[in-house]
Amino acid sequence: MAEVHLPKTLTGLFAGLGPVVPADGATVGDALTALDGRWPGLMDRLCEPGPRLRPHIRVFVDQSPAELATTVAADDRIDVVTAITGG
């Protein structure tokens, strides 16, 4: 299973969702969809219809920039990051 690291702004929205969670999936999108199965609505908070990542959400797989279609290996680390915005 990949290890998904999530931002604090997201974990506060879903009961029982921690900052690091395991997820199955061949791609980043599959892994996030798996998390959405456990925490319904999570995918919507990270993706727009398409689906595509929201404009200020960045994802990295083992520290390399990634998209929803990026493939994921079983022991990969996925970082979901809130990009710099706001004030």
Binding site: G12, G41, D44, R45, E48, P49, H56, A83
Partner: protein, 358 residues
């Protein structure tokens, strides 16, 4: 009896609680994870609180609380125009009525929930309106991109609905939202109109709780009155310091009572001469009174946004407003005198007052 103010800000929702006397207030917040809140309401029929919010990171949701604000959860399920539709950037306005909850959104549209905000379905995008072609153009919307800034039912007949589309004006449905018609006749526009039926910038419009045929809008260029549910409008700006402002509130018991807070129409968008003032008419706009007792000036350079002014339903009426600089002011004598209830809040976007029965 519990009187509650729901204060939406750029950094979360705040709640203020008091009793019938409205003297002592307890402040709670920031709530809703400090998301920017555009509008928050309470529904006395269900006991629910709702807050429309949008995050740069996580999109648009409606927060909901079943216990008067102690615990909150969010839902955006169904708040979407779908895979092929335009993006939904924010929910700008909320209305609870007859067991339904309406959310006005940008791009312009209205969503409906019948399960207290848990899930949403698209109610209308005013498909039959020629103006729709214009407001779907990315560059045609006014700054802020608020879309539908109000959905207002006529409480005498749920089939009668008004929506206010930012920068385009008022539209009315007599058949529960199946079809729509513009209701802007008699309003002024100081800019060229593609069609005289629409293109009006109605910042805020209120229906009198005391007479549903009576409506008062504050527009970009004037304040108006309708005695025939928006079929025609008469300008009542004379006596005010400018024709420009954002918020408006109707007196809950007197159809001739109406409140506005005019501001400088230029870059400042702050109150005139640095004197914070609420302006009141008690004769349906024939004359205006400037109300300043207890309000700061002459160096109070602040504004009040579209949803920033509200009244409660008590007698004497309480009137409340929140400022762009984070103060909440209240009057419990219908506006004759004011006092500050809160300071140092984030910039305030909305204030609503709810009287909860025991």
């Amino acid at each position: 009896m519990r009187v509650m103010l729901l204060v939406g800000t750029r950094k979360g929702l705040f709640l203020m609680d008091s009793d019938r006397d409205r003297r002592d207030w307890r402040l709670r917040g920031p709530l809703c994870e400090s998301w920017p809140v555009f509008h928050a309401i309470g529904d006395v029929n269900t006991g629910m609180l709702y807050a429309a919010a949008a995050s740069d990171w996580h999109g648009t949701v409606v927060w909901r609380s079943e216990d008067l604000g102690e615990r909150w959860e969010q839902s955006g399920e169904g708040l979407s125009y779908g895979e092929d539709g335009p993006p939904l950037t924010k929910v700008s306005s909320l209305t609870a009525t007859d067991g339904r909850l309406f959310a006005g959104a940008d791009y312009p549209g209205v969503f409906q929930s019948t399960d207290r905000g848990a899930t949403w379905t698209l109610f209308t995008t005013l498909e039959d309106q020629p103006a729709r072609e214009k407001w779907l153009e990315p560059d045609a919307s006014p700054p802020g991109r608020l879309g539908v800034i109000a959905t207002m039912p006529d409480h005498r007949d749920p089939q009668q609905l008004f929506v206010n589309v930012q920068g385009f004006g008022l539209f009315h449905s007599a058949d529960g939202g199946a079809s729509w018609a513009p209701r802007n006749e008699g309003m002024r526009a100081d800019w060229p109109l593609e069609d005289p039926a629409w293109g009006y910038c109605v910042h805020k419009v209120v229906l009198s709780p005391a007479d549903a045929d009576r409506m008062y809008p504050q527009t970009h260029v004037g304040v108006y009155r309708s005695r025939d549910a928006g079929a025609s409008w008469t300008e009542i700006t004379e006596g005010l310091p400018s024709d420009f402002g954002f918020p408006a509130a109707a007196h809950p018991h007197d159809p001739d009572g109406f409140y506005v807070i005019p501001v400088d129409p230029g870059h400042g968008r702050t109150v005139h001469d640095g004197q914070l003032a609420v302006w009141r008419t008690l004769d349906a706009g024939e004359t205006w009174q400037q109300l300043t007792d207890g309000l700061p000036g002459p160096h109070a350079h602040l504004g009040v946004l579209r949803e920033g002014l509200a009244g409660d339903s008590l007698d004497p009426v309480g009137i409340y407003f929140g400022t762009s600089t984070g103060q909440v002011f209240a009057s419990t004598d219908e506006g004759d005198s004011w006092r500050q209830l809160a300071d140092y809040l984030p910039g305030i976007t909305s204030v609503e007052a709810v009287v909860w029965p025991e």
